[in-house]
Amino acid sequence: MNALLDRHYDRIFAVCRKVTGNQADADDACQDAMIAIVKGLHRFDGRSTFRTWSYRVATNACLDELRRRKRRPIAAIEEPERISDEPGISQQVSDRLSIDDAFPQIPEEFRAPVVLRDVIGMDYAEIAQTLDLPAGTVRSRIARGRRHLADVLASTSEIPPTGEPEPPDQPSKSPS
């Protein structure tokens, strides 16, 4: 069981991080998701893959967390997290800062489809199954989510696209 969870954890965390839009909520949602997975295994009927099912659980946990979050003050801008030791690390940090800043600003209903597509790599049919949405809706929401994302990024174009990332303690990026 531990090996199973460990194997899927990073992706589940990635979903939570993107969908919730901040580290603290992602942590809470991710833990809820992991526990919900082990507690809900008896309901997993094998008709979908464990992967699909677990992302569905994670997405639900994120949405629950977002609902709870609405009753809380919005957290301050966070410190940047660790990222993989891959080539172009400074570029990735820069991209991720701007993407992560932009992501919470797109409507919630668009986030999960975009994340499952772009981060997890699911096809539309899988996403439809995971989110229990018609495939056409998935397609539309992904497109609209990306449009929102592009618009937000365009409006925050003062963030340097390359080079040094903006210091995390400068709250100047997000439009109201």
């Binding site: 069981m1 969870l5 990073d10 965390f13 809820d32 507690k39 094998g46 990222i83 397609r139 449009r147």
Partner: protein
């Protein structure tokens, strides 16, 4: 182009094109328009940016996993059971420890509980397994007997209706000779075979009783039954014609005699392989080490599955003895040849 609905539609087309989900007509539309191709490039850049994800903090990950395992090991909730996927989580302190704190295994907030006592326990066996047991009794017996009986010819399967009432002992008597000797040797080496036999036997009985309760699965089961008989119905009544085994070790070996639990009773081999999609780097043939299994059963179980191998274009029974904790799988092929495969955590073959 200034029509907002048209712009939205084009956005959708471009997005679908980037994802490889556009229709042929849409592909032609996009590729014929330089402006749309420019949008495609921009959107690809956006997607690439979006694909960059944070690596979770190792300590947080450890805590989350520990919390999940603690929940897994907690006594079963005797309440009515929540239908929410996001089940209520036990309270686990998410506050990171001081920076100097070593990652002690005995962190008080989320203790890792020894699961040894749980691994062999019958409690908590997923309900699907109980249903699967009944199906497996039928399918496993049919396929295994058929292949053993034919020994080289096309596989044979008994008439489904005729076999559908058979019990594990039916399959036992018809169990393949080839698998028998080896199977019994390996079976002796395995722990708790008897206990597992008892457990799965009880499950099989329970599953037979609960067969009618499974709404969708009952339909699928019948469909599979039909598929089974349809695929290999060249010889019929394998139950009647298969030679009965006289060897005691065959009769006592759970690897031959069952009762068996099929975790995916309706699953073809291709479907089984598909379950591993998304587990990067995992070769297809390792699907029997499928981590998905771990989500369906207690940590140790025996399963016998009947898979439809499209490669071989025939049915063959694969007897799986799967120890999730050790990622150990024993497979009995159609020719009775058995293979034990030990996998590491990444589903790589360590020993065959």
């Amino acid at each position: 182009m200034s029509d907002p609905s048209n712009l939205e539609h084009l956005d959708e087309v471009v997005s679908a094109y980037v994802d490889g989900e556009a229709t042929p007509e849409e592909v032609r539309l996009v590729e014929a328009d330089p402006a749309l191709m420019e949008q495609v490039e921009l959107m690809r850049g956006l997607v690439e940016m979006d694909q960059v994800v944070a690596t979770p903090d190792p300590e947080m990950k450890r805590r989350h996993l520990a919390a999940a395992m603690a929940a897994f090991d907690a006594p079963a909730d005797t309440g009515s059971g929540s239908d929410s996927d996001a089940a209520v989580a036990p309270v686990v302190d998410l506050t990171p420890p001081p920076a100097d704190t070593p990652p002690a295994e005995t962190n008080g907030s989320a203790p890792v509980i020894d699961l040894t006592s749980r691994r062999r326990g019958p409690a908590g066996m997923p309900r699907i397994l109980t249903a699967a047991a009944g199906v497996l009794v039928v399918l496993g017996g049919i396929g295994f007997v058929a292949t053993q009986n034919d020994s080289g010819d096309a596989t044979a399967v008994a008439d489904t209706d005729q076999v559908s009432n058979s019990r594990p002992s039916d399959a036992d008597e018809d169990g393949g000779e080839a698998a028998g000797a080896e199977a019994s040797d390996d079976a002796e080496a395995m722990e708790d075979d008897d206990a597992m036999e008892d457990e799965t036997s009880a499950l099989a009985d329970e599953a037979m009783a609960e067969d009618a309760m499974e709404d969708d699965s009952s339909e699928e089961e019948s469909a599979v039954d039909q598929d089974t008989s349809g695929a290999v119905d060249e010889d019929s009544s394998a139950d009647d014609t298969a030679p009965a085994s006289d060897e005691d070790d065959e009769l006592t070996s759970p690897l031959v005699n069952g009762p068996f639990v099929d975790v995916f009773p309706e699953t073809t081999l291709d479907e089984l392989l598909a379950l591993t999609d998304g587990i990067e780097g995992q070769p297809l043939e390792l699907s029997l080490c499928n981590s998905e299994f771990a989500g369906l059963a207690p940590e140790t179980f025996k399963a016998r599955s009947l898979f439809d191998s499209t490669q071989d274009a025939q049915w063959f029974p694969a007897l799986i003895d799967n120890d999730i904790t050790g990622e150990f799988v024993v497979v009995t092929g159609a020719d009775g040849e058995r293979a034990g495969v030990l996998f590491d955590d990444n589903c790589n073959v360590v020993e065959r």
